[in-house]
Structure formats: structure tokens, C-alpha cells
Amino acid sequence: MWLVISLYIVFLLVFLLIPPLYDGVERKIRAKLHSRVGPPTVLQTWYDILKLFKKELVVTDTGLLSILLGGLLLVTVIITALTMPLGFNTPITSSTASLVLFTVLLIGCQLLWVSLSLTPGNPYATVGVFREAVLGMINEFFLVLGLVALMFYIGSPSFATLSSTRLSITYALIFLLLAVSAYIGSGRIPYDIAEAEPELASGILIEFSGPLLGITLYSHFLKRAILYGILADMIVLPLARAIGVVGAAILYPVILLVIWVIFAVISVLLGRTRVDIAPKSMLKIYIPLSIAILIAWIAGV
């Protein structure tokens, strides 16, 4: 018990420090694919965020709202991370409806993100939010659908049962669905059109500066880590019994890195899509996948 709790505290801190570090790794890998050097170290993203905290804060006349919502977003994302297992289950994540709680908090994060982007009232940001909303409506739906399917598959709305689940084709298909929705939900090319300043009019972060921008960026990376963390959990938790709690705790950040790197490489290979093409292309992936999950589950594979 105490082992679990102390392990958890240590690896929670690791988990909170990881997202900008992994982003640094991603930037180096992207640079290699571009035939260039990229940032000098993998700690660059951390340096950038910390540098932002030293800069001055410039806000619009709705600045107070932006600051409050920014803080609220950061707190909510961190709390969401607390409700998620980090490769092994804790008393919080073993509670009866922990998966449901996690799903609701995740949606809450997304809503706060959209609200935060609406606060400055800038026309560019508004266009960006419009695009984000179009994507988000479809993507969030299938993300929730995937998590609900997972709950049905493992038979209970708690993370605890995930450790004892059996692997099968249905499980793999659910994993795929969640992987796609995590990829799109974390704002990756081809679906990063919300914050894409080469596009003439988007940029939900356009009015943020200084510490507010630092907080927002960190929350963005942490949310990305949470989304990929679900996938890592789906891999590591079933193995936890075999390799023990400590092994699972160490394996978890490694698997998270592998997922992150794979997604990073895919995003370098593709171009950005357009906001009216995006829903159609998304549905072309999701609907067949959902039907396949249904069929596989009914067939019992």
C-alpha cells in the first residue's frame, strides 16, 4: 500500500514533467526528418515555457477572464491526470466508476480549452475556435464512444478491471479507435487546423502571452500526454500482473514515449487538411472502425 502510494507520488511528478520533455524529443526527431539540427537539446520546450513565465503579460480587455480560465484549465488537466493510472492502479483509479470520472473530466478539459480560446474576442481566435469546435464535436464523440466501448468490453466502469482484462481482436480494435481519436484530439497534423497560423485566419492562442501562454502550452502538452496515456495504460495495465508494480511504473513512461514518437513521425509525413474536408475524412475512418468493433465484439473475438 505504502509502496504504491510512494511510487505513485514519484511517478506522478515524473508524469507531470514528461510532456514538454517528450515534445523536445519530438522536435529533434522532426528536425532529423527535415535534414536539420532542430533545437540544441531535448529540454528546449521546457526552456521555452519557462522563458514565457519571465515575459510580460499582455491581455485584451477581457484579460481577467482569460487568466481565470487559464488557471482553471491547468488545474483541471492536472486533476484529470490524477484520476488516471500511470501503469499501475492506485486507490483513486481503482474506485468503482473511475473510468467514467476520467471521461467526464477529459470532456471538461476540452470544453475549458474551447472557452479559453473564446475569451479574447479576437476574430482570428474565433475562427480558430469554430474550426476546433467542428473537429471536436466529431472527435470527442468517438473518443467517448471508444471509452464506453472499453467499459463494455472490460465489463465495468473502473480502471481496476483493466488490469485483468484479456487481449483480443476487439480489444485491439478499440485500441485503434482510441489511438486515432487521441491523435486527432491532441491537435496533430493533418488535423491541427485550430492553431495553424500559416492558414490566414486561425490561431486560438493568438492573444496569449507571457505566463498565460506558458500555462496554456503546458496544459496542451499535458492533455496530449493524458490522451496518449490511456493508450499506454491499455498496453501496460494488463501486463502489470506479470512484471509487477515497479516494472509497470517504469515501463509506462517508456511506452508513452514510443507512442508519442510514432505519432510525431506520422504527423511529419502528412499535410494539413481543410476544415470542410476534415469531418468527412474523419468519419471515413471512424465509422468503419466502429462497425468493425461491433462485429468483432458480437463475434466474440
Binding site: A31, L33, H34, S35, R36, V37, V265, V268, L269, L270
Partner: protein
């Protein structure tokens, strides 16, 4: 066939691997300039004769020839130079060479100014300024040796001497004719 098309973007990985990292880590590595590169010019003070051909041809007027009292000053302001090398082309004595230097930034504009000061020769007759430097006169003599006879005199003194010579040839006696 559709699958092959789906995986074609992955060719990027082989392209990137084939070319490697191409960044030159300047200034920790040498910069990428060729032998033909035109940097700032260097004016050889031992050759320059202050004729101003370079200043005449310089498109942005980075080279300026000015006269002050009995000096001729050639000023080169790197801030205006476009590194075209026209000055080096037109200099009659080849005093200007184009170097490969391009790291010219400095905290003070004084570093960007170079001046060459020439003495203006005095007329051996009346002592007035000739408007030419010694090297200019030597250049003229080099290309036209008979010029040595009159090139050290200002036009007025030349005129006086010519009239004196003419008068003497006609056999009259004169004192120095005052102008």
C-alpha cells in the same frame, strides 16, 4: 495499389536518411562561401592616387571623394557598400581588392568608416593647390612622359610660362609678366 499509395509519404524517411543533416554549424564551423564571393573591399594606401574613379562609379555612394583645404579624402563607408566590386574594376592602378570578409557588424559606426587622406600637390610656380595628388601626377607622367614639363604647374602658371617662352622666342626682353 491503394495501399501502396497510402504508404508513399513514408518515402520521406528514406529521403531524409539519404541526405542527412545539412546544417552548417556556423560560427562553430566555417561559413559556406565560394572563391568568387564578394566581401568588403580593401584599399591599398600605397597605390591609391586619389583620382576618384571608384567614387564616380560606386552605385550607392559608399565611396566618397572630397576635398578639404589642401587634402583629398577618400572615405569608404561599409554601411552603404553593396559589395558589387565596381570600384575594384575601374581603379586605374588596381589599388582596390575585393576580400572575402563579410563579418562586419560592429557596435560603433566608426568601425565602418575608412578614410584615406592625400596631400594635394602645390604648384611649383605660385604655390597654389593643384587639385591633384603626387601619385596622380606620377601616373600622368608615366603614361605621357612629356607631361613632366608642365604637370607641376597650375594652369595659370603654365599660361604665363608659355607666353614668356613665346615672347623670348620673338626676341623681346621681358620681366616676368604679371597676370
Amino acid at each position: 495499389m491503394g495501399l501502396k499509395k497510402l504508404f508513399k509519404p513514408f518515402k520521406l524517411i528514406s529521403v531524409a536518411r539519404h541526405s542527412g543533416v545539412v546544417t552548417v554549424l556556423y560560427p562553430y564551423q566555417k561559413p559556406l562561401i565560394t572563391a568568387e564571393f564578394r566581401g568588403k573591399i580593401s584599399i591599398d594606401a600605397s597605390k591609391c592616387m586619389g583620382c576618384g574613379a571608384c567614387a564616380n562609379t560606386c552605385p550607392p555612394n559608399a565611396l566618397i571623394l572630397s576635398r578639404r583645404d589642401n587634402t583629398i579624402i577618400l572615405n569608404y563607408f561599409i554601411g552603404r557598400c553593396i559589395f558589387c566590386g565596381r570600384c575594384a574594376e575601374v581603379c586605374p592602378v588596381g589599388a582596390i581588392t575585393v576580400t572575402h570578409e563579410f563579418e562586419l557588424a560592429s557596435m560603433s559606426t566608426r568601425d565602418l568608416n575608412e578614410s584615406l587622406v592625400h596631400q594635394v600637390e602645390k604648384c611649383s610656380g605660385c604655390g597654389g593647390g593643384l587639385g591633384a595628388t603626387r601619385r596622380m601626377l606620377q601616373y600622368v607622367i608615366l603614361h605621357s612622359p612629356t607631361a613632366e614639363n608642365y604637370v607641376h604647374l597650375c594652369p595659370n602658371c603654365r599660361k604665363k610660362r608659355f607666353i614668356n617662352a613665346l615672347v623670348m622666342k620673338m626676341g623681346a626682353r621681358t620681366e616676368n609678366v604679371e597676370s
